[in-house]
Amino acid sequence: MQQPFEQVVAEHSATVLRVCTFIAGVNDAEDAWSETFISAMRAYPGLPEGANVQAWLVTIAHNRSIDLIRSRERVPAPTDEVPDAQSRIGIPGATDDELWASVAALPLKQRQAVAYHHLAGLPFTEVAGIMGGSAAAARKAASDGIKALRLRIAAESRTEALR
């Protein structure tokens, strides 16, 4: 028997938003979240008993975030306006913005591997199943991503200290 969808939302809402923010970006995260849960709701009655709901949702979040990224690439962003880069996560602050800038600078594969493994807690075999490629490649992408973030954050705090 399936649990009421409300429980699915309550348990996984925050994780899905984290993943969407990571993959689709700060400004598109909420659209990706909505698309993810609407798609999930459409498919929910057919979800097999005992399925891993978290992995299923992360897969949908992956697909919807990629859709959003592609649709943004097709539609050129207006150039006469400076994009609002302010973080919409929690209390906007310099630290978050720096972190998001560092995240946004990572290659997509690294963002995905870090998000699906470290933020959503999926094992690398499942991460590979979602991203394509091998578990070893997913592990390497996650580790490269964390390493790059460490270097960037360290570099930013050095710059900060020099000011």
Binding site: Q3, F5, E6, L17, T21, L99, H117, L119
Partner: protein
């Protein structure tokens, strides 16, 4: 996962969404799901003089009123199994039901004007439950009289089980059905709730 990198800890902290943002997103999901016909059941809870109530509706109408003694998680799981698992907390969808119940509890409403969905009951029980709507505000009937009114005078025990399994108590007023000797009989919301409802209607 081994010991957590400080970068991961920082990421988890920086990406922790606040509750108000999540509840705003939840509200947009409810709106979109009902616009697209994806919502099997909308529910909410409300306070009342007989304790907290759970209200649940489908696209056809109000399908369930549950009392706090029924464990709302169990009720929702039962609704998922019977009416579909796409259930969301959607207070807005039940605003009119809540308003009419509030008016009933403050004595200013004697009849409900709501669409009902009797999908949770069937057969003789449903027949009895529909018949309950014809017992006027402030009046009572015996199980025996209700059995007679549905053309089955020997079925007073079955009338008792139909009342006990009424998915829409208060609105389909099973609290107005008593034993022939005038004693209360049973009530799914507890006898105290039945007493309060009868007193409310008697006083009004």
């Amino acid at each position: 996962m081994s010991a957590r990198d400080p970068e991961v800890t920082a990421l988890l902290a920086a990406t922790r969404p606040d509750e108000s943002r999540l509840s705003r997103l939840h509200a947009t999901l409810v709106t979109r799901a009902s616009d697209e016909g994806l919502l099997d059941v909308a529910y909410t809870t409300m306070d009342s003089p007989i304790g907290e109530l759970l209200l649940a509706s489908t696209a056809s109408g109000l399908a369930r009123i549950a009392f706090a003694n029924e464990d709302f998680d169990d009720v929702l799981e039962h609704l998922a199994a019977r009416l579909g698992p796409r259930i969301l907390h959607a207070p807005h969808a039940l605003r009119e039901v809540e308003r009419e119940l509030d008016e009933y509890f403050d004595g200013s409403r004697r009849e409900f004007d709501l669409n009902l969905d009797l999908a949770l009951s069937a057969g003789f029980r449903q027949l009895v439950q529909q018949q309950l709507a014809h017992i006027d505000y402030g009046k009572t009937r015996s199980y025996q009289q209700v059995a007679e009114s549905v053309g089955n005078p020997k079925a007073s025990r079955a009338v008792g089980s139909a009342c006990a399994t009424n998915p829409l108590p208060i609105v389909l007023p099973c609290h107005r059905v008593l034993r022939s000797d005038g004693s209360l009989g049973g009530y799914s919301g507890g006898l105290e709730a039945k007493r309060i409802l009868l007193a409310l209607e008697h006083a009004a």
